[in-house]
């Protein structure tokens, strides 16, 4: 986080919210999304805690409780797939296996170059497009093994740098 956002920018972003405890999650999510490593580092957590009037422990409780907040730096591209039942009926089970094969890592691990990781998540409301992979706001729908291979190659080649 530190390497992508100056302290001044970070503080400006935090100050664009109201200094109330109920703004904590909004701020943390916005900060996390504005940074390259997509996680809440300790310095930022401290800034948010002081600003909204919560303790650092409160902030870390939020970060560890909610699946959308990360305690650790994330890969450049986290490929999420759905592990809820409706998508399983749409036969999306091959996604995890395919990614494991292509990337040679387990779920939650990051490739050595820091570029790719994959993660199962609960329904993201794109069930009608299953089998899909979601990266940030972007859905890659109706996938096959070949299409996943292509997607990974494209990501490595930087083809999606502008949208993701």
């Amino acid at each position: 986080m530190d390497n992508t956002m100056t302290l001044t920018k970070k503080v400006a972003l935090i100050h664009s919210f109201e200094p109330e405890p109920d703004a904590a999650v909004n701020i943390l999510l916005t900060l996390q999304q504005a940074t390259k490593d997509a996680y809440v580092d300790e310095a930022s957590a401290r800034l948010v805690a002081d600003y909204v009037g919560l303790t650092l422990a409160n902030i870390y409780e939020l970060v560890s409780y909610y699946p959308a907040l990360n305690e650790q730096p994330q890969a450049r591209y986290v490929l999420t797939f759905c592990h809820s039942a409706p998508c399983a009926v749409s036969d999306n089970g091959f996604i995890e296996k395919t990614l494991h094969q292509i990337l040679g890592i387990d779920e939650g691990q990051v490739t050595d170059d820091g570029l790719l990781a994959y993660q199962g998540v609960a329904c993201v409301g794109a069930c009608e497009q299953a089998p899909f992979i979601k990266i940030k706001d972007h859905i890659f729908p109706n996938l096959t093994t070949d299409k996943i291979q292509q997607l990974v190659a494209d990501l490595k080649a930087g083809h999606f740098d502008d949208i993701l």
Binding site: V25, S84, C87, C123, G125
Partner: protein, 429 residues
């Protein structure tokens, strides 16, 4: 001639969904105008006669809730649109916010007028960045057009504004007690029962509904109670947004009149269009993960209305319907269902925290056909235990999909057990 699909009638027809003028050209704010022209009693009567039930799955009557918030005196009252929508297989509220956010905002504004509430929140998943930015823009545009803020429509004292509260994802936040905690900056765990209309957000009278329910309010007031109610049944007015997923040919969002046959929703080319490979359906999972699993032969006469389903001890839930053919083994289906409850248990009650893990493991064992005699009874006991000891709906509803599936497909459960194996005697708790 009124449209039979008023909730989705603007979908795809407006270039800029944040544009108030474009919304107004397509009958936007006609509902609120009607409300402002009528008396308080007339407005409440319209709500009662329109027979609008909450679309969020909690089955409450919106007129009753509004009346309670209205009569409970407080300095600040809240209108909360819970659009977090964590129920797997459901995407109707996201669709509404993405395609017609002003309908939801108009609905919240109507609710504010009816209940004298001043502060509104839309609670929405923070990871949907694009959606949140669009919502912010829409709210800004409303303020600029005096449709939010002070003296809305130049009515003195009609002050109402909306903020966005971002969710970081927790299914248990469908429970109002957890939702209020989450929105106030604490972790979203339920802390005892609350009655939102009396002591809701910050202990003030609060109306909590999902986006679909709010989007119904402008339709109800624009059409009038009679016309609105006649879209549905005599007991439940209006239409319902249904999310079809699984092995139906046409997966996606459909707006159906309440009171339609369930088989029509699944098989009619206008809706689900039958199964993808043309084979008959084996089962459906009705209303979300917390709903019942029904063998297809049992749904032939079912009517899709709250009252007809209730008579069969079923609910519409969030409007999710997952359909599967013979190709899907019931255990393969249930394992991810159980995993969902395990992942979403907030950990407060030991029975739910540990029991949902045990249920998930037991189903996996059966799925691998590694069960031993006694496992099915143990599974049933465990499900019973979790459902009876859980302090909120998350643990309580686990029993619905599992017991209904066990009743419908006992053979598939039995096939998960190696009946030659030694009986393991073990007290589950």
């Amino acid at each position: 001639m009124i449209t039979r699909q008023p909730l989705t009638s603007r979908f795809g027809r407006v270039k800029d969904i944040t544009d108030v003028a474009a919304y107004e050209q397509l009958q936007g704010y006609e509902g609120l105008n009607q409300v402002l022209d009528a008396t308080e009693t007339q407005n409440l009567n319209t709500l009662i006669e329109g027979a609008l039930w909450s679309r969020s799955g909690n089955g409450t009557n919106v007129a009753v809730d509004c009346q309670e918030v209205l009569t409970n005196e407080a300095e600040t009252k809240y209108i909360i649109c819970n659009a977090d929508e964590g129920e797997p297989g459901t995407f109707k509220d996201k669709a509404l916010l993405r395609s017609d956010p002003l309908a939801v905002i108009e609905g919240m504004t109507i609710a504010a007028y009816l209940t004298h509430a001043q502060v509104g929140y839309i609670y929405v998943r923070g990871e949907f960045r694009d959606l949140i930015l669009e919502l912010m823009q829409t709210i800004e545009n409303c303020r600029a057009a005096h449709l939010l803020g002070k003296s809305i429509f130049d009515v003195p004292g009609f002050d109402f504004d909306i903020k966005i509260s971002e969710s970081a994802g927790a299914y248990v936040c469908q429970e109002p007690a957890a939702l209020f905690n989450a929105m106030s900056g604490a972790t979203g765990r339920p802390g005892g029962r609350v009655t939102p209309t009396k002591a809701g957000f910050y202990k003030q009278p609060t109306l909590v509904e999902d986006a679909e329910t709010f989007a119904n309010l402008p339709v109800l007031y624009r059409l009038g109670a009679k016309a609105y109610q006649s879209l549905g049944t005599s007991e439940s007015g209006g239409t319902k947004l249904v999310c079809l997923t699984g092995q139906v040919k046409n997966r996606g969002l459909f707006e159906v009149p309440i009171g339609l046959e369930l088989t029509t929703i699944l098989n009619d080319p206008e809706f689900g269009g039958g199964s993808q490979d043309g084979t008959p359906f084996k089962f459906i999972h009705l209303g979300g993960q917390s709903g019942m699993i029904l063998p297809a032969e049992n749904i032939t006469d079912l009517i899709y209305s709250p009252e007809a389903l209730q008579a069969e001890h079923l609910t519409m839930g969030t409007g999710a319907i997952v359909a599967a053919t013979e190709a899907v083994n019931i255990l393969d289906y249930l394992v991810p269902v159980a995993r969902f409850f395990m992942d979403e248990s907030c950990g407060k009650c030991p029975a739910c925290r540990i029991g949902t893990v045990r249920i998930y493991e037991a189903l996996q064992t059966l799925q691998k056909q590694e069960g031993v005699p006694g496992d099915l009874t143990r599974l049933a006991h465990m499900v019973d235990h979790v459902a009876s000891q859980a302090s909120c709906f998350v643990g309580q509803v686990v029993a619905n999909p599992i017991f209904s599936a066990m009743a419908a497909f006992p053979e598939e459960f039995k096939a998960g057990v190696d009946w030659q194996a030694e009986v393991v005697k073990e007290v589950p708790w």
